[in-house]
Amino acid sequence: MNPWIAIGALAVVSVGIPVAMMAVSSLLRPSVPEQGKSAVYESGEIPTGTTRIRFNIQYYMVALLFVVFDIETVLIFPWTVIYRPALEGGASMTEVLAPMLVFIGVLVVGLVWAWRQGAVQWVSSPRALEEKTEANQ
C-alpha cells in the first residue's frame, strides 16, 4: 500500500475536523448581534483610534537589524555542523575557527557602525510624541 495514503488521510482529517466544528457550531448557536461584541478588544482599555496606526519608524529600524543579523546566524549553522568532524579529521583549530571569526568580525564592524549611527538609539521624535498625546486625549 502506498505510504502516502496515510498522510493524505491525516490531511483530510486535519482539515475536516475544524471545518466540521465551525459548521456545526454555526448551525446550533443562537445569533444575537450586539455592539459590544463587535468592538475592538484592547485588554479592557477603551479602544483609541483604528487598528491601522502608523508606528514609529524606530521600531522598524530595530526590526530590520534583527532580521538581518538573525538571518546571518543561519549561515553559521553549516559551520557548526562541520566544526567537530573537521577537528577530528585533523584540521587545526585556526583553520576551522578563523573563517568564522572573520565572518563575525565583519558583522561586528557593521553592528558597531549601525550603533554609532544611532540606529538603535531611541529618540523620541517630536512628531511621534505629538501623535501619541493627541491620541490619548
Binding site: I57, Y60, L64, V67, V68, D70, I71, E72, V74, L75, F77, P78
Partner: protein, 100 residues
C-alpha cells in the same frame, strides 16, 4: 520517493505566483513579497535537487539565498521609506517623472 518533477512543478508554480503578484500589484511592499516568493521557489529547487543529487551544495546555497533575501528586503524597505517620504505613497506607479 517523490519524483523530482513534482518539486519542479511546485517551484514553477510558486515562481509564477510570485511573478503574477509582481506584475499585478502596485504596492511596493507587495512587490517585495512577490519577489520573496520567487526566491523561495528557487530555494525549493535547491533543496529538492540537493536531495536528488545527494550533495549538500543545494542546501548551503539555499541558506545563502535566504540570507541575501533578508538583506534585499532590508535595502528594499529602506528605499520604500525614502519613496514614501518623497511621494507620500508606496504605490510604485506614482513615481513617473523620468521616462522616454
Amino acid at each position: 520517493m517523490v519524483p523530482v518533477e513534482y518539486y519542479l512543478v511546485l517551484s514553477a508554480a510558486v515562481f509564477s505566483i510570485g511573478l503574477f503578484g509582481l506584475l499585478t500589484r502596485e504596492n511596493a511592499l507587495l512587490f517585495l513579497m512577490s519577489v520573496e516568493l520567487m526566491l523561495n521557489a528557487a530555494n525549493i529547487n535547491f533543496i529538492a535537487f540537493s536531495l536528488q543529487w545527494g550533495n549538500l551544495t543545494g542546501q548551503v546555497m539555499s541558506l545563502f539565498v535566504m540570507g541575501l533575501a533578508a538583506a534585499e528586503v532590508a535595502v528594499g524597505i529602506g528605499i520604500i521609506l525614502v519613496l514614501y517620504r518623497n511621494f507620500k505613497d508606496v504605490d510604485v506607479t506614482v513615481p513617473q517623472s523620468m521616462r522616454w
